[in-house]
Symmetry: C3
Subunit: 347 residues, 3 copies
Amino acid sequence: MGNFFEDFSIGQKIVHPLPRTITDGDVSLYIAFTGSRFALHSSDVVATEMGYEKRPIDDVLMFHLTFGKSVQDISLNAIANLGYAEISFPNPVYIGDTVSMTSTVIGLKENSNGKSGVVYVHSIGVNQNGAEVLNFKRWVMVHKKDKETLTGIKEVPTFAEATPICEEINIPEIKCVDVFASGGNFFFEDYEKGERLNHPEGITVDNSDHTLATKLYQNNAKVHFNDHMMKSTPMGQRLMYGGIVISMARAISFNGLQNAQWMYAINSGAHANPTYAGDTIYAYTEVLDVIEHKRDDIGLLRLRTIAVKNQRPEEIESPKDKDGKYLPNVVLDLDYTVIIPKRKTQK
Amino acid sequence: MGNFFEDFSIGQKIVHPLPRTITDGDVSLYIAFTGSRFALHSSDVVATEMGYEKRPIDDVLMFHLTFGKSVQDISLNAIANLGYAEISFPNPVYIGDTVSMTSTVIGLKENSNGKSGVVYVHSIGVNQNGAEVLNFKRWVMVHKKDKETLTGIKEVPTFAEATPICEEINIPEIKCVDVFASGGNFFFEDYEKGERLNHPEGITVDNSDHTLATKLYQNNAKVHFNDHMMKSTPMGQRLMYGGIVISMARAISFNGLQNAQWMYAINSGAHANPTYAGDTIYAYTEVLDVIEHKRDDIGLLRLRTIAVKNQRPEEIESPKDKDGKYLPNVVLDLDYTVIIPKRKTQK
Amino acid sequence: MGNFFEDFSIGQKIVHPLPRTITDGDVSLYIAFTGSRFALHSSDVVATEMGYEKRPIDDVLMFHLTFGKSVQDISLNAIANLGYAEISFPNPVYIGDTVSMTSTVIGLKENSNGKSGVVYVHSIGVNQNGAEVLNFKRWVMVHKKDKETLTGIKEVPTFAEATPICEEINIPEIKCVDVFASGGNFFFEDYEKGERLNHPEGITVDNSDHTLATKLYQNNAKVHFNDHMMKSTPMGQRLMYGGIVISMARAISFNGLQNAQWMYAINSGAHANPTYAGDTIYAYTEVLDVIEHKRDDIGLLRLRTIAVKNQRPEEIESPKDKDGKYLPNVVLDLDYTVIIPKRKTQK
């Protein structure tokens, strides 16, 4: 089950099974899992007022439903999920759309001990019409079958420090943002590089919720839902899927970012420490950059959201200690870019 | 976060954010949370046979999805949710409808200690066409910002003892009730003022279920889902949202009230004691009144449903002790009015 | 509540209440409960490519939603659910369909102690157009009201050892199976009588998940969701609904049976030991028979799936010990027949 280092070759294309039709049921479950309140994704009236024909799917939900497909082929038996880069959300996804994913191997690096290696893939998710809805690169460490023979293979791709921002952004021209509907008064112009938002909410995650979510995403990495197996590991219990923490942090960031309803990109992310059932997730966000776009209805914010477990975010000054090591309660360090309308769209 | 006593003024109108489109996903989740078996809400065939074009949404689910919107503005930091009155459900809501809510401040009363006060609001929920779907009054105690200055404000509205019953009731003329579909043989004529129904079922609620429900309703009162915060309070754990108990009691009341498929009004309610994960909810119902209406296909029953935790309802004679204090296991005392077809509609 | 032995008579027809409209919400919840990955049920693209107009509902989900209706009348107070036979799934069910069920009493056998008896029923589920979607026989032991009088009634029906296979199978002609979509390369021709598949996944079930599922199915057998009551029984806690284990075993069997996406029949089943919250379910499958059909696009496999709790399936050689008693960790012994396309359909 799962692939070994030798099963991959540069340029190899992997069609991931299980195209998935996204439904109203998935959307309701996502709100139940996260408490997410971004109005664009929970109200057809808000979506049409803005300029959409109907509600688009929350980008993070779409990410999980699409990404989940690649676990079987790429990371089922991974020793470690090392990183991801250049994640972008090129087109909106709607209820009834069917998403699927293909990956191409873009790098391979044998570890010097000969026992394992790193596989780099470029994964592209499309909808039923072939339009790109997700695009990202990730790298995982996997076992070698033959631990005796050194191959010396070392082809390491380079990644952009941040997902490039395109000339064209595929969301409708924003006709108007009703601040009484979105719940937030802040527009692009109101954010400043360097400012920090401490989000007030904390949400506790239990075993049933996180395993229901991971199973909904058809992500079959067994560490997340096999308690019997995990009891014999140092963790001693089921590990929460890292995507759950991304979702909780994004939902919690609503307070202060109510009108930033689109993920444009994830530039990089670190799952600094594991989370388990019973942990309460908090978050704060730093504005890394304020980015103008040629479109005059919207701008972009590059954000860094730090998720913390069982500790209020205002108690954390920096996620790392003086030696550059993540503090034990920091569980996510996410660098991402959101789209936010300009004040002129305010109704 | 949240409003203080001084933030409110008589006549002030508050448009609550987050209009919400109600979907099949919400309906399925509601059945999963409660086990509700009222046929009108889970079968298109039953609904059309009765005279509907399609299944209407369960009134209590609609209440939660609409009410949840007002928490942020009215009660996020409430010291106490003191009461509600004159709740009515003026029009049915269907899948695909988008509900939103507005509140008007109708009363303010500073407490004599100067530290807090009571805010009274009148809240109206509408669908995407502006038709009223929920109408109620509630009052909450909130902190004052300036605890030193006494304002002496005291404008207290009066409330009807029971929600008035209108000449027109906005449900279709009931063409027929198939007792083999609804599961119940009892019609309006079969109930007598003063009779009591002990409902046999008890349902245990766990942390995942109640927090999933509260998050689905986008009710962000933190006492319900932040275990880290609650551990440092006298409760020591997450408090279940009172609406969960209303839903469970309503679902449990199915046995004996199978054909009373419409909430017409909630006249008053007391959340007598808190409920926590692991509690098993039981309920019994007293028929307070049997009310004829000018329509000859339906009548109304005024009911009092008492929900009890971890104790069979037949063991409780009255919810209060001889001093008028609620017994420790009583968790809800709900006075409400339901619509029930007359025997002539029986198929 | 619930029926006693004397309430049943041979030939008696029972129309079970609560016709149920099946929605996208039910389907999403089912995926969340089980992690099921059969592509036909989660992708409209896959379904139409195969020859369907749209995704059919997973047969096991449909079974639960339809079967749940009979609990109130047949088995609410059953002393034991003794068995079932000749379960078949005659027609596909789609989102939006409304299923309902009727049972006929086909056998009655008083127990020799005079205190209880066995009731045999034949249950038929239909969709809103009257097409049969589920057909099965089951027998349950129920209490007698009058434990003093011996009636001597003994009419015991006989059952086929396996559900007969019909000339016509009501699934569309399979146009093509895209193995990159279904995730599996094995077709009818690849299976051999006697072979065994150890499925690698184990899934832990918690109280919230299994009670949410059982409530969604509107199965109101109280042993599954009343913890207060169960604490005073030898079990000491809520018992998981046996159907949950069938669903988990079926979902886990995906690995190795990816293209066997249709339940044709359940021939027999034994719930060998109870399962509780916290148990991790594993499974293995034996191929009992390889069955040709006159259709040349498909064949059938008769399978025996053994579900085991808290033990890897490869550690179990046979589910029973040398005395023919089930091993303590075996929780399901299911004999069923699936449809699987032939290799010629491969795309």
